[in-house]
């Protein structure tokens, strides 16, 4: 009888991709994305080139964080031989498979930077760094050839890992070979240290070096923490829209949502722990080259953004997500996930934008807000638009995963 029930759950109409709906949504999002790109380009002339580029860079890094976070989760699910998450895993894999898009979204700003000689990355500009003894000691790391080499290494590692994990999972859809699960586990095991190192150094290269005097050993963990929880938030939103089309009924239940909510809660707290530890140790020790980073974000109106992060990224969602009922309700959990995604964007703006304001615009630039919104629309219109197509490109669950029964029977209170 449960055989029958399982078959009904895994019936064609329940797991087939929502092709027409996806095409509609994707068209709309890509349209918005195009508008956003246009807005950002206009903004670069009206408000300032560096401002528009910084906005775009912040958003592209946010999208990259989500993609890397999804890859982390796929590897964790394999490594822990997780059973409950099987019906969700394909969505994590779809998100992970956005890797080329995320890399492509980050690329334009980096290319323009290298060609134009450092508008955001001031260390690329010899006129700025001339006679700076601090820079001189960092030059073996912060130079354009090595920067490009590292970039290529990151891209290679991420593309290889995401493609391999994707292929192992989709091959299992066809062959049903259960031992592919163990292969994926093995890939994840050695993939994890590579992932950790590349993510940390990418965060150093593409975010921390925006202020080349600043340094923090925590920086890689901070960027990783942002990606881990925002990918969970993205999955919650994706599932909401997929289920709107009548798919995944009974496959992704409130039990799964409850656990996703717990992970969202847990990693919101984790992000806050990392963010607080970093802030606190810099604040307490008060060493000039570190403190400058935090001082800047307490002045010129950035204080309000900092406080928004404190309340909106930690305190408020912490209290709300404590309640089981909210995590088990599709609507409330999705609203919170959207909120957390917005906070993730604010976090990246908070990291990138203050660097630009130095010497150019001393305060938070409210008149440039529309450029930020355009950049967000541009990056995420394209990202989510293509994600919708990807979701529609194959079955919505890993069809023949050997642990599928566990996920179908997943319950929190037994």
């Amino acid at each position: 009888m449960s055989q029958l029930a399982a078959n009904q759950l895994l019936s064609e109409e329940n797991i087939n991709p929502p092709t027409s709906a996806a095409a509609r949504v994707s068209g709309m999002l890509l349209g918005l994305g195009t508008l956003g790109v246009a807005g950002t380009i206009v903004g670069s002339f009206v408000v300032g080139q560096s401002y528009a580029m910084a906005s775009w860079h912040a958003m592209a890094m946010a999208a990259l964080a989500i993609t890397l976070g999804a890859m982390f989760w796929v590897m964790i699910f394999h490594l822990t031989m997780s059973g409950w998450s099987i019906t969700l895993r394909r969505q994590f894999e779809n998100l992970m498979k956005m890797m080329p898009i995320a890399i492509a979204l980050v690329a334009p700003v980096l290319i323009i930077e290298i060609i134009s000689g450092g508008v955001l990355f001031k260390w690329m500009n010899p006129a700025v760094t001339a006679g700076d003894p601090v820079f001189a000691s960092k030059q073996p790391y912060l130079n354009i050839p090595f920067f490009v080499i590292r970039w290529m290494i990151f891209v290679t590692v991420w593309m290889f890992l995401s493609t391999r994990l994707w292929n192992l999972s989709t091959r299992q859809d066809i062959t049903g070979d259960k031992w592919l699960s163990n292969k994926a586990r093995f890939t994840s095991s050695w993939g994890m240290p590579l992932f950790a190192l590349t993510t940390a150094f990418a965060a150093f290269d593409w975010l921390m070096s925006l202020d080349y005097h600043f340094f923090s050993t925590m920086w890689g963990v901070y960027y990783f923490a942002g990606g881990v929880f925002s990918s969970i938030a993205t999955i919650i939103v994706m599932l909401f829209f997929i289920q709107r089309t009548g798919r995944l009924e009974g496959l992704v239940t409130n039990e799964h949502r409850h656990d996703l909510g717990k992970l969202l809660f847990g990693f919101t707290v984790f992000w806050s722990y990392i963010a607080f530890s970093q802030y606190f140790l810099i604040w307490y020790s008060n060493i000039p080259e570190e403190t400058a980073f935090m001082v800047l974000r307490e002045q010129h109106g950035w204080r309000y953004v900092t406080l928004t992060l404190m309340w909106g990224h930690f305190i408020v969602p912490f209290v709300i997500l404590l309640f089981a009922g909210i995590k088990r309700n599709k609507t409330t959990l999705t609203i919170l996930a959207v909120w957390m995604l917005l906070m993730h964007l604010v976090d990246l703006f908070w990291i990138v934008l203050p660097n630009i304001h130095v010497g150019e615009l001393r305060t938070v630039n409210m008149s440039g807000l529309w450029v930020n919104v355009s950049a967000a629309l541009g990056v995420f219109g394209i990202y989510f638009g293509l994600l919708a197509r990807r979701v529609a490109s194959g079955p919505l669950v890993p069809l023949k995963d050997p642990r599928m029964p566990e996920s179908l029977h997943h319950r929190n209170y037994v």
Partner: protein, 512 residues
């Protein structure tokens, strides 16, 4: 697709003899718990035990005489504990000059030991709280002893800050107690936060451990009581009194089990309380070692001030704690009859994997520290790190690297994860390495200050060494007492992960 849940199918396969119920004796390397087939969950209890057998075996550890090994071990470890007591007495009556501390290196073995023990105290709560929240069923076999280990490690840890102040009679000043001199501790000092963090952690861990034990203590009580009733003329405890061992047990376990009656209302509240305590303990696991790391990282001393310290210390603590769990449980599963059915090779392998993970996390933190020390462009910071690796304490640094980062890398190979001697060797290496990590952090940063006139070296005195060895004695004594007199496994939780606990599968249709 199989219509059976994995637990069900494994149960059926065991019943039909399709797979072995579990290895016995020395052939444990090939036991069913190591089944790597992704479509089945390997059994967590081997040899197809019934619930009754589980009760008998586990109660037996507390009720029967232990093997011949117990008493000699206990005598040795309690003598060492006595040595620790004598050393502390000598320290208090003489002064901290009996240690190798000097003007320059004014923290050394004392704080190293403190951080070492408090780190070991992390694995227990991690297993019981975080693995509980992540619903990792394998934790049930190791959580009780790991929690006990936590408590004992925290006891050893708490001793050192107390005695390192020199004037131990003034230690009460660390607590904010109103007094006529208006002397208050500095609330802005992480050292004070440490007092709060560690005492909170000790309290919550104790509650967690004790609360979890209540049903099992009640089980021991009821068994003693039943034997007294059935066998009124049984052997006496002492020839001169009418006192019998079971009478003592019935009263002692009865007192400790707080009137537990196995009613469903009791179980309901127990489970709620367990979940709440797990929720509270999880941030505590993180906070304690984060605050310990603040002791160092809030300063501006090169080598101490680095922002990755909080998560790095937590990872290191879990690392050291799991190594200690393995060091304690591997001998225990050899020495106690039938314990291998509960602590299977799968459990050992899982813990080996956690050692690999946390060891690599610690390695990641070392890499970040070294990279940023260079990248930061601060010559003093860079000097501190170069001095660690190449200075007079180079041997401590390289011991740390080889024990903490290199030795767990053996666990990439499945054969090593499943080999008891290798696991034991790595666990010992990690325990050594984690002690040296704290020594490296504390001593190498202190022994080279900004002025050459402030350079000095630290060498331990015999009192230093014997105090540390003695603290190991205290730890082992308490753990041996725990093994002898208390329920070593959480019986109800262990039974809940056996196939019999779920005879119909957790399928809501329940049709098959």
């Amino acid at each position: 697709m199989s219509s059976l849940t994995p637990d069900q199918s494994i149960a059926e396969q065991i019943a039909s003899g399709a797979i072995a119920g579990g290895g016995v004796g020395d052939s444990s390397l090939a036991d069913a718990s190591l089944n790597d087939d992704p479509s089945v969950r390997p059994p967590l209890v081997l040899n197809n035990r019934s619930f009754h057998e589980v009760t008998e075996i586990i109660s037996g550890y507390a009720e029967n005489r232990p093997g011949k090994w117990w008493l000699p071990l206990f005598l040795i470890s309690s003598s060492l504990a006595g040595v620790c007591g004598l050393m502390i007495l000598y320290l208090v009556t003489t002064g901290v000059g009996v240690w190798g501390l000097n003007n320059q290196v004014d923290w050394a073995w004392d704080i190293t030991n403190f951080v070492f023990w408090i780190g070991i105290g992390h694995a227990g709560t991690l297993i019981s709280a975080i693995l509980c929240l992540f619903k990792q069923k394998w934790r049930t076999a190791v959580n009780r002893s790991a929690e006990a280990m936590t408590i004992f490690a925290v006891i050893c840890a708490g001793m050192f800050p107390g005695i390192h102040v020199g004037r131990i009679w003034a230690i009460w000043y660390v607590f904010p107690i109103p007094n006529y001199n208006y002397i208050w501790p500095n609330f802005r000092s992480p050292l004070l936060w440490d007092v709060f963090a560690v005492s909170t952690y000790a309290t919550v861990s104790l509650l967690f451990w004790y609360m979890g034990m209540i049903p099992d203590l009640a089980m021991l009580r009821d068994r003693a009581d039943k034997r007294l009733r059935l066998n009124a003329d049984g052997p006496r405890f002492c020839p001169f009194f009418r006192l019998r061992a079971d009478t003592v047990r019935a009263y002692a376990y009865g007192f400790l089990s707080l009137g537990w009656r196995f009613s469903s209302r009791h179980w309901h509240r127990y489970e709620k309380a367990y979940l709440v305590l797990a929720g509270i303990s999880t941030p505590l696991v993180l906070s304690v070692h984060s605050i310990v790391s603040f002791d160092f990282a809030t300063s501006i001393l090169p080598g101490w001030h680095t922002t990755i310290f909080p998560p790095y210390f937590v990872a290191g603590a879990v690392f050291g704690g799991f190594a200690m769990v393995l060091l304690l449980l591997i001998p225990a599963r050899e020495l106690f009859p039938n314990m291998k059915d509960f602590v299977t090779m799968r459990h050992v392998e899982n813990m080996a994997k956690i050692l690999l993970l946390t060891g690599s996390m610690v390695g990641f933190a070392y890499t970040m520290e070294f990279f940023i020390a260079w990248y930061g462009g601060n010559e003093f910071e860079l000097y501190a790190f170069k001095n660690r690796a190449l200075g007079p304490y180079w041997w401590a640094y390289w011991t740390m690297i080889s024990c903490n980062v290199l030795s767990p890398q053996l666990f990439w190979v499945k054969k090593f994860r499943q080999s008891i001697p290798v696991v034991l060797f790595v666990a010992m290496a990690v325990t050594t390495g984690m002690w040296f990590e704290r020594f490296v952090i504390i001593v190498t940063s202190l022994h080279r200050a900004f002025l050459p006139g402030e350079w000095g070296m630290f060498f331990p005195t015999p009192v230093d060494i014997l105090t540390f060895v003695g603290s190991c004695g205290i730890f082992l004594t308490l753990f041996l007492l725990f093994l002898r007199f208390l329920p070593v496994f959480a019986v109800a939780e262990l039974k809940a992960v056996m196939p019999q606990a779920d005879p119909h599968g957790h399928d809501e249709q329940g049709g098959d």
